[in-house]
Symmetry: C2
Subunit: 374 residues, 2 copies
């Protein structure tokens, strides 16, 4: 059922135009996957997400396991039915959240012991359990359980961690899951090239359906992020989808696409929106700034989203200052529209063989590299 | 510009089918006006409000005066433009909020001295200022400044208060406002019939464009609410719109329509939605109740709103429990759809000459009188 095809390759960069097939349709790549942490892209309906052009969302297995519970989701007909989302779903393993959200946690050979951030109850997340959870959620793409050590971690710790992640990936691969679902591995290794290489090579032996780069964007500087990503991508098989986890400033996406990455997820467009920060064709915009209170123009004249076609900066600032839910809605809609537009630009440029021009223009305009208050 | 016409009268009750004309279109009455306290019906877009069939919203002059400021709204082209709402707007006077939201407040002959609930700054709201604020907001229907004493208040206090409200209404009527806008008076008098009669008769002399009944639903028992409303309505001119302020359980609306009331506003459908309480054709429903967590059916099988056509009670409960913004959106959409549907049923029944049947059925079914958990 799961299939990835490369439609066209950029001649000047490593970028590629592709298409993923799942039981829930196709995903044109490079693709951005909005994050539906608890089974909802915050403030958006599934209909809106589809209208914005997104073909896949990321759901957090950790959250769905704790609430409402993966077995309950299964009884209710699975995530797609529950969320009324008929396109593809990727679930992350829950490992990152088990480590980052729990105050009490212990990494053992068999899995991760953690306490629920909701009620303090104790849970043990093994690779087998991780597969069981994602499988019963009815996801299209599952992620192997991995350990993502904090930044900075020592070489010694990271080396052992990479080996553990490999052993867990083997166990995930052996788990019984419903046919047709894809299982992706996650390359770790922090900022150590030898360990990134080791992690990638070991995971390749397991023959997974796709490969992700994890453990980036967690504290290291951006130059290092790019260097490690650029170093790691070539180790990942050409014929399988590549996914850069959790990273997604617009410039990160353009850069990583040029390295040959196909999939992205990030909470930035949705979280920033709720904090009043907007992505626009002329840079970042902080809507709460006082001078917008008298500004009758739209957030982005070049943008065709409902928010920009309908409301002024002054009104959006008012809604934000007044704590209105409509602010979260309208700003999220705009930011996701921007991301949908960006990915479409990238794919169309790849289709025309002009991706390197788009990348250069993107860097020249610089709007997206800096915070410009217009 | 402002005009009210009665299209049909019920032969068995005092109910009437009517139509209000303002500079921003027509309003079929009896009508429910969703509350856009701070210039936004909470969690909804203006497009959705219009699609739900509402032709007028209520905006709070007190809130807009304090933030963003009525002069700023005026500079930005007025409330309609700011909110992207091209239908009618009624603004309340702000008197109620100046008294209820401020810790420091003093009622003087000239107006209300209060401290802003936002920053503690001191303000003095006179009838003239009240007219200036509403006029510059660009509203279609303005409300006179009134005093709404708390329940219970003594007869002596209430009598003086009614006289003050009458004097203020006179001053409001004398204020210079843009032609074409309507000015409604507010009958006060608490639970004292003599004072309600007095208040109504005095206000009638001022010849206002419509008459509201204020000061109900603030602590007195429901029987008293109905009795006072039923007692007061006949004093209000037949040929002018009648507005029952702030009251709006579905059964209240049906009851008051039968008394001859034309306009309603209430925060219940929106506020209850955000608290997880839904109005349905089979009674109230508290979505957070545990058993809904496994319930695959829609909130209301008879309802055609997006929420009911798309999502299960189980998912809505999950969203509510998880604190997702989408819960507020979907539940608000449903509740407002219910109110829109209710008003349409009432108007259609009036048109067919069958309103008393609808009222009887409404009481027989009893679903809306009691909290039924289905």
């Amino acid at each position: 059922m799961f299939k990835f095809e490369i439609l066209k390759e950029c001649t000047k960069t490593e970028a590629r135009l592709g298409r993923i097939h799942t039981a829930h349709g196709t995903i044109e790549t490079p693709a951005f996957m909005p994050v539906a942490t608890q089974g909802s892209v915050k403030a958006m309906t599934p209909k809106e997400i589809e209208t914005l052009g997104f073909e896949i969302v990321v759901v957090n297995a950790y959250h769905m396991y704790l609430r409402p519970g993966h077995r309950k989701v299964e009884e209710l007909g699975g995530l797609h039915k529950l969320m009324a989302w008929n396109r593809s779903i990727l679930t992350d393993s829950g490992g990152f959240q088990a480590l980052s959200l729990s105050k009490v946690r212990k990494i053992k050979e068999d899995g991760i012991l953690f306490h629920s951030h909701l009620d303090g109850s104790e849970h043990f997340l093994t690779p087998e359990k991780c597969m069981e959870i994602q499988d019963s959620l009815g996801t299209d793409i599952m992620m192997c359980l991995d350990e993502c050590p904090p930044f900075p971690s020592s070489y010694g710790y990271m080396e052992k961690s990479v080996d553990l992640t490999t052993r867990w990936a083997n166990l995930c691969k052996q788990a019984k899951i419903e046919p047709g679902k894809a299982l992706f591995g996650i390359v770790q290794g922090g900022v150590f090239r030898e360990l990134r290489e080791k992690s990638a090579l070991e995971l390749l032996k397991i023959d997974l359906d796709g490969y992700a780069i994890g453990g980036l964007g967690i504290g290291e500087c951006k130059e290092e992020t790019y260097q490690i990503a650029a170093f790691t991508v070539p180790y990942l098989p050409q014929e399988k989808p590549r996914y850069l986890m959790g990273l997604g400033m617009p410039e990160d996406i353009v850069e990583a696409v040029s390295m040959g990455v196909d999939l992205f997820d990030c909470v930035l467009p949705t979280r920033n929106a709720r904090n009043g920060t907007l992505f626009t064709s002329h840079g970042k915009m902080v809507i709460k700034n006082a001078h917008y209170g008298e500004d009758e123009s739209p957030v982005d004249k070049a943008c065709e989203c409902y928010t920009c076609r309908t409301f002024s900066r002054a009104y959006l600032r008012h809604l934000y200052q007044a704590g209105e839910i409509l602010a979260s809605r309208l700003l999220t809609l705009h930011n996701l529209h921007y991301y949908g537009w960006l990915m479409k630009q990238i794919r169309e440029a790849l289709g025309r063989g002009e991706f390197s021009d788009l990348k250069a223009k993107f860097q020249t305009v610089g709007g997206l590299k800096e915070s410009c208050e217009d």
